[in-house]
């Protein structure tokens, strides 16, 4: 009895560099090396963006929302534009639908590879980290060549897309995907078979399906716990209803199954990118703006980390009365309490990384 009292500690972890260079602060109740209870404090990078959104007009908010998050920046402007189009009653042209999906899937490939690379970094497998980042660099080059930016693509605008892609650029993207695919194949093989990676990820950070449903988690975290949920399939938008791809589900419920989902999704994204490049119809890329009435609407899309949800309320002026959004990480943080329970303190960073957390977009 006394030994339990001696071995039980409450330790702080963070707020700096828990997995990423973003602040979140964990309070861990540990018994020896084993975690018994987790509580987290966040808010270090709260920027009050929802208040800022009600001081800008609809067009300016496209730029603002793209800056909510870095790795899923495109998903935010995409979903925001969809919400704005729903509230205005706009239909976007078919070419814009395809070009939006193209930008979204390019971002998804880069985002998933980044998270996978960080996992190798946290494990301490530096060469794998470097290798994954090197392969990812091809997609970064694509973004820079096509859109002129490596992070914020600024592709979406209300009514369509800003950047029309020439046939040369489309064939360039196809070439780069062909060049990249064997590299990702190799990385997938490494993550599936390397004993160092498997030793740290397989069977660890468990999120049983029951808890995943209870906590309403989204994205690869949900799909890694056997939940078949994907907005692109459940309520298809843009060009997704016309494109063929599969939803990747894995019922391992551990860190490794979440990584497997992400790596396999990259290949589905390649499929989508190829289909978009080959099938994109000719035509205009933008629809003209409509009169703004007092109305409310919502929209959702599947970002790399899961469902993004936007709600907009207009009051017949060009400045929204309320703009609210919920990012996928917001739903996934609470799952860490389940995943970390009975794990070792040394695994906290790895488990945190497995939900692909984004602090700045959680706090807005």
């Amino acid at each position: 009895m006394t030994s339990t009292a001696v071995n039980t500690f409450s330790i702080p972890l963070g707020p700096v560099h828990v997995a990423l260079e973003e602040p979140v602060y964990f309070h861990l109740d540990v018994e020896g090396e084993t975690i018994r209870k987790v509580e987290l404090t966040s808010g270090h990078v709260h920027r009050g963006m929802e208040a800022m959104a009600t001081q800008r007009n609809l067009t300016k908010n496209t730029t603002l929302t793209e800056r909510v998050c870095s790795l899923c920046s495109n998903s935010h402007s995409f979903t925001y534009c969809m919400a704005a189009e729903n509230v205005l009653g706009l239909d976007i042209p078919p070419r814009a639908r395809y070009l939006r999906v193209l930008a979204e899937e390019i971002k998804r490939v880069a985002s998933h590879l980044f998270n996978t690379a960080i996992q190798a970094h946290v494990i301490g497998f530096k060469s794998l980290f470097m290798h994954t980042m090197e392969v990812r660099e091809i997609m970064q080059d694509v973004k820079e060549t096509v859109y002129g930016n490596r992070m914020n693509l600024a592709q979406n605008c209300i009514g369509g897309v800003k950047c029309d892609l020439t046939p040369e650029l489309l064939s360039y993207i196809l070439d780069m995907v062909d060049k990249m695919e064997p590299g990702v194949e190799e990385i997938r093989e490494l993550y599936a078979t390397n004993s160092m990676v498997l030793g740290r990820t397989k069977g660890l950070g468990l999120l049983p399906k029951k808890d995943a449903l209870r906590l309403g988690v989204v994205g690869p975290v949900a799909r890694g716990s056997g939940i078949n949920i994907d907005v692109r399939k459940d309520s298809p938008y843009a060009a997704y209803p016309e494109l063929e791809f599969d939803t990747i589900v894995n019922d391992g419920c551990c860190i490794h199954s979440r990584t497997t989902v992400r790596l396999n999704e990259i290949f589905e994204s390649f499929r989508l990118i190829r289909q978009c490049c080959r099938r994109v119809p000719e035509g205009p890329t933008k629809a003209p703006m409509r009169q703004i009435r007092a109305a409310e609407a919502c929209a959702r899309t599947e970002a790399p980390r899961g469902e993004v949800f936007y709600y907009i309320r207009t009051n017949a002026t060009d400045i929204p009365a309320r703009l609210k959004w919920r990012v996928p990480s917001y739903m996934n943080w609470e799952a860490l309490g389940v995943m970390m329970k009975d794990c070792k303190v040394a695994d906290v960073a790895l488990i945190t990384n497995s939900i692909d957390p984004c602090v700045s977009c959680t706090e807005r």
């Binding site: 808010g43 189009e85 706009l90 209870r214 906590l215 609470e334």
Partner: protein, 177 residues
């Protein structure tokens, strides 16, 4: 565009019974995805509505609190967004009075925890029986309901330069002369 709007008839009927008459409407986006909108006249009906949604396996997507004062109406509203089988059900609750209170829906939806804590700190809405009513993001040194005080930048800038500045310039000029 399709003629019929998708939706679970049991949920639509059930939520319709909780709603104020004439407020239920249904919309569809340009891809055929359905959205159903309900307005509850009083927060008391929220628990019944949440229980119904929970039974049908709904997932809570988001909760939006907002202040109608921005629309020059002295009231607050909360919109709960749920998803069932790819269809969105939006449930708006109108809050009246000086001390707006809503019941916590965490017994039905565990993921409402953060959303409710956020609307407590940003909009000063009281959530009855919340299991963990700590601050979510903002420090205790900030007052509750900080977004209720949000003033549009243009209004803040109006008259931000008071007579003090002008008086100081005049005083400086007198000193020089």
């Amino acid at each position: 565009m399709q003629d019929t709007i998708n939706g679970n008839q049991r949920i639509i009927d059930g939520l319709g019974q909780c709603s104020e008459t004439g407020t239920v409407h249904h919309t569809v986006d340009s891809f055929g995805n359905a959205f159903h909108w309900f307005r509850l006249g009083t927060p008391r009906h929220l628990t019944r509505a949440a229980a119904l949604l929970s039974e049908t396996g709904a997932r809570l997507c988001m909760v939006t609190a907002y202040n109608r004062r921005h629309l020059s109406e002295p009231m607050q509203e909360i919109c709960y967004h749920f998803e069932v089988a790819g269809v969105i059900y939006n449930l708006t609750v109108i809050l009246n009075g000086e001390w707006p209170v809503v019941p916590s829906i965490t017994p039905f939806f565990a993921n409402a925890d953060w959303h409710e804590r956020e609307m407590m700190e940003l909009y000063g809405i009281n959530v009855a029986d919340h299991p963990n009513p700590r601050r979510l993001f903002l420090d205790e040194s900030f007052e509750r309901g900080i977004l209720n005080q949000a003033v549009p930048l243009s209004i803040m800038m109006n008259g931000a330069s008071t007579t003090d500045l002008w008086e100081r310039i005049l005083a400086d000029r007198e000193k020089q002369s």
